[in-house]
């Protein structure tokens, strides 16, 4: 099964009804797959921080949603994450494209610092993060989502390589 379908099925198992997102290179083929989902609706935004605000509104409205953005977009979103997830305690699952992850592992000179700073920034905000790199790790999405709900906070799943 293609990785995009694995993720779609895992999100459907979690009961996710809305995915608020801004496209990125790690998730480019995911769009076509998620469009086929009978239960998940996509909400596109212009800026990653806006994804957090729309997600917060969906949650307040009683819907199950998640945020799908790239690592540089996560960096854009910090103040909204602080307010909505730390101050308001709105459970938030962040699916974050880990652009540059494999290059970083292989010791290649990074194109930019988005991969290098991602985990330290999440750690600084107290946002627990899991990796989704091998297909078996798709279960981390459900695990992170349940943890976000139970502890009323944000959790992140870092997507190590592109969907196919």
């Amino acid at each position: 099964m293609a990785r995009a379908d694995l993720v779609r099925e895992e999100l459907e198992r979690c009961g996710i009804e809305y995915l608020v997102w801004l496209p990125d290179s790690e998730t480019r083929s995911f769009y076509d797959t998620i469009m086929k989902s009978p239960t998940i609706k996509l909400v596109q935004v212009c800026h990653e921080e806006e994804a957090v605000g729309v997600h917060a509104g969906l949650w307040l409205g009683g819907k199950r949603s998640a945020v799908l953005i790239q690592n540089s977009g996560l960096l854009h979103s910090l103040d909204a994450l602080r307010a909505f997830t730390m101050d308001m305690r709105i459970p938030t699952l962040l699916l974050v494209g880990y652009r540059g992850y494999h290059g970083m592992l292989e010791g290649k000179k990074p194109v930019d610092t988005a991969a290098v700073v991602l985990e330290p920034v999440l750690d600084a905000l107290g946002i627990k993060h899991y990796l989704f790199d091998t297909d078996e790790e798709v279960e981390n999405i459900g695990k992170a989502y349940r943890e976000a709900l139970a502890e009323e906070k944000a959790t992140a799943v870092l997507i190590g390589r592109e969907y196919d």
Binding site: Y18, C46, E50, G57, L60, G62, D87
Partner: protein, 188 residues
């Protein structure tokens, strides 16, 4: 120019079961006039995002109208929300932006372009075709019943005078979340 609390009183008079999400000065003032506080979600702890919260609530509850009450400096930070709202084609959302040309909450420093800023035209260009601008309370009061009845999304820019604000006590965020969610689910 309009006195902001006077415009809020007009909206309060027309409100039935709309969810209202005010930010910045409107978040301080709206509770003084609101008749359905359980359906209010005032945001005082960050700028710019009440339009996004409004979009989420509007998507979650298409049967209920949602009014977002924003400030000009706050809206200017996240103009993209206007396109997000237009793109989502939510018929049940009205975005009101009070324009006083300043960051009133931080001491009255000017926003870029101040009163020159044409937010109603910007909103139209960003995708919300039903876009209005008022600088006269009587005209606003005369036109608002029709505007509230029409399908959205709708953008209403209100040119308001600086200052004259009414302060209300700071609400408990967790209690506000609980009562707002329960009121939305009740369907009343």
């Amino acid at each position: 120019m309009i006195i902001r609390p006077e415009a809020l009183k007009v909206l309060a008079k027309h409100r039935t079961n709309e969810a209202v999400i005010p930010a910045m000065m409107a978040a301080w003032e709206w509770p003084a006039y609101s008749t359905r506080p359980e359906l209010d979600f005032p945001i005082r702890i960050l700028m710019g995002h009440n339009a996004g919260v409004g979009l989420g609530v509007a998507l979650a509850h298409p049967e209920r109208k949602v009014w977002v009450l924003n400030g000009d400096g706050s809206q200017l930070m996240y103009l993209g929300y206007i396109t997000d709202i237009a793109n989502a084609r939510v018929k049940n959302l009205i975005l009101f932006v009070f324009q006083n040309g300043q960051y009133e909450i931080t001491g009255g420093q000017p926003i870029p372009l101040e009163e020159e800023l044409d937010l109603a035209t910007a909103a139209r260009g960003l995708g919300i075709k039903n876009s209005y601008c008022f600088d006269d309370l009587a005209e606003f009061e005369a036109r608002i019943p029709d505007i509230l009845r029409q399908d959205g999304p709708t953008f209403v820019n209100l040119k308001v005078v600086r200052g004259g604000s009414v302060k209300t006590p700071k609400p408990n965020v967790q209690e506000t979340i609980r009562s707002f969610m329960a009121a939305l689910q009740s369907g009343e």
